[in-house]
Symmetry: C2
Subunit: 304 residues, 2 copies
């Protein structure tokens, strides 16, 4: 029997005493110096920088990972390095799992049903071929875009459930432009994001584990903390993935409503403020990252 | 000076006498037999099947490409094969360009601005690194998801313009679930997709080339042909990418309103009905694909 994602997550949060998710958005121009120095000296640039990105992510995981429950690799940052970038992503996933961390693949995918099935194979499943099955990335969860509606989400949710994985559906994002579409006022007198929240709740209602958490979660931008109480009302069992802490301007103290169903009900995500903590705090990149991750972990734990 | 995408597209449509886009959604279980047979006999399955997928796509391009103006690789179908899949995608892009075809990368990406910039680097730009620039996929255009709003689209559009590339923004998709969100009724008494269409028109208004076409286009599902006239009203300069022809149930005869601004105003996309034409028509896969592509090309050309 495959374990339920919500239950796996709740156990991991307790075991690691952390609701902090380490965002990995590697920028080749801002890699930690020792990772860049470890790049092979010969060969095509794309392969050398791919290896450096993998080394950087491994070093960040080694430094900040102990204060976290999961990593959240940003797929765009790996894709821009082509096949070597995807190989670096795979190595990063494996490094995180070996360190006892869950992996939330952040690609915000969304497409018509037949294609959604292919994305699920890429992220949490495997692809049957005449030469044998090809395993995907092996993520524990992924982000998804709900614009295409219920039938486009269902193949993702089904594949996730079969793998004991979870889905985080975009409900309200943390960028200023979210007002353009996500906040559009519906005829029913409420913003579109409330409709998206309802969709998440409907899809997740029969997928609630013993922890009280569903395996259908939501991306809920913490730059608008006034929305969080309403989101919790609409989605009582969803795990909230809270981006926007740190570099994007959100404050960890504002997100308390997320934790109503328990500590694993809210995952606090931070990326650049941890990885580049040395630029604020001074000192060695790894030590600064560890200290900042511990600070964010403790701040969240005190709330939930 | 970098050429404008709308103008490049209009010239290509005239030069090739085709508005047909060849969708490439390779399913490893349904590769053309000679492509599968060409897979290396040794090595990991993922690498062998990646090579077979690249051979399949090259064979499909060789057969059906002469009747088309562009290919539309579905990124999900390559991603599910990991780094070898991305390498197969890169080879497919290069094969298409050598055959004189444009490349529309179909990944429906959408993310907050900093991440959108990374997706643009992956698709149409390049990524600066301390070891030198890493070129991206080199697509001529890509699909994008507008849920996150204007500021999430702008980095994509800017990078596209700098590369002479185009963007196709989702407005109304061809799946039944599109009624859930895209068709949601707004307070203004119209469906959400009309708001998305307005956003496309606003973003593209200052990006109209000499052809009369903007480099900001729209994905407009042909399974709802009754919407096309209204879409054209709202987006007079946008190129419409029309999925849903063939396997998804749309009919090429229903899409005439798309061609109002000229033949390149509507791109007719077909994937499985071309690639697997032999299953309907009988005969050799390549010959059947070529015949079906020519049939679809001629049907569209007669309208526009």
């Amino acid at each position: 029997v495959t374990a339920h994602f919500g239950d796996r997550l709740a156990a991991a949060v307790e075991r690691r005493s952390s609701q902090l998710v380490l965002g990995l958005d590697p920028d080749p121009s801002r890699l930690w110096p020792q990772a860049l120095a470890s790049a092979p000296e010969a060969g095509p640039v794309i392969g050398r920088i791919g290896a450096a990105v993998a080394a950087h992510c491994a070093a960040v995981i080694d430094a900040a990972g102990p204060a976290c429950v999961a990593i959240k690799p940003q797929l765009a940052c790996f894709e821009r390095l082509g096949a070597p970038g995807w190989a670096a992503l795979q190595r990063t996933v494996e490094h995180a799992r070996a360190a006892g961390l869950l992996v939330l693949a952040d690609g915000k995918r969304g497409d018509v049903p037949v294609t959604a099935k292919a994305y699920a194979q890429a992220l949490v499943g495997s692809t049957p071929t005449p030469l044998g099955d090809v395993p995907g990335l092996g993520a524990d969860a992924f982000t998804a875009n709900p614009l295409l509606g219920r039938d486009a989400l269902e193949p993702l949710l089904e594949a996730a459930a079969a793998a004991g994985a979870g889905t985080f559906v975009l409900v309200r994002t943390s960028n200023p432009g979210a007002i353009d579409v996500e906040d559009a006022e519906l005829a029913a007198g409420r913003p579109l994001w409330e409709r998206l929240a309802e969709l998440v709740a409907e899809l997740g209602a029969e997928r609630v584990g013993e922890s009280g958490l569903s395996d259908v979660g939501a991306v809920t931008g913490a730059t608008e903390p006034r929305h969080l109480a309403r989101m919790r009302e609409l989605m009582p069992h969803a795990v909230f993935l809270l981006p926007g802490i740190g570099a994007q301007g959100g404050r960890v103290e504002d997100v308390a409503p997320a934790f109503a169903p328990g500590r694993a009900g809210g995952l606090v995500t931070s990326s650049r403020s941890i990885v580049h903590a040395a630029e604020q705090r001074g000192g060695e990149p790894g030590e600064a990252a560890r200290a900042e991750a511990e600070r964010l972990r403790d701040a969240a734990w005190a709330l939930g």
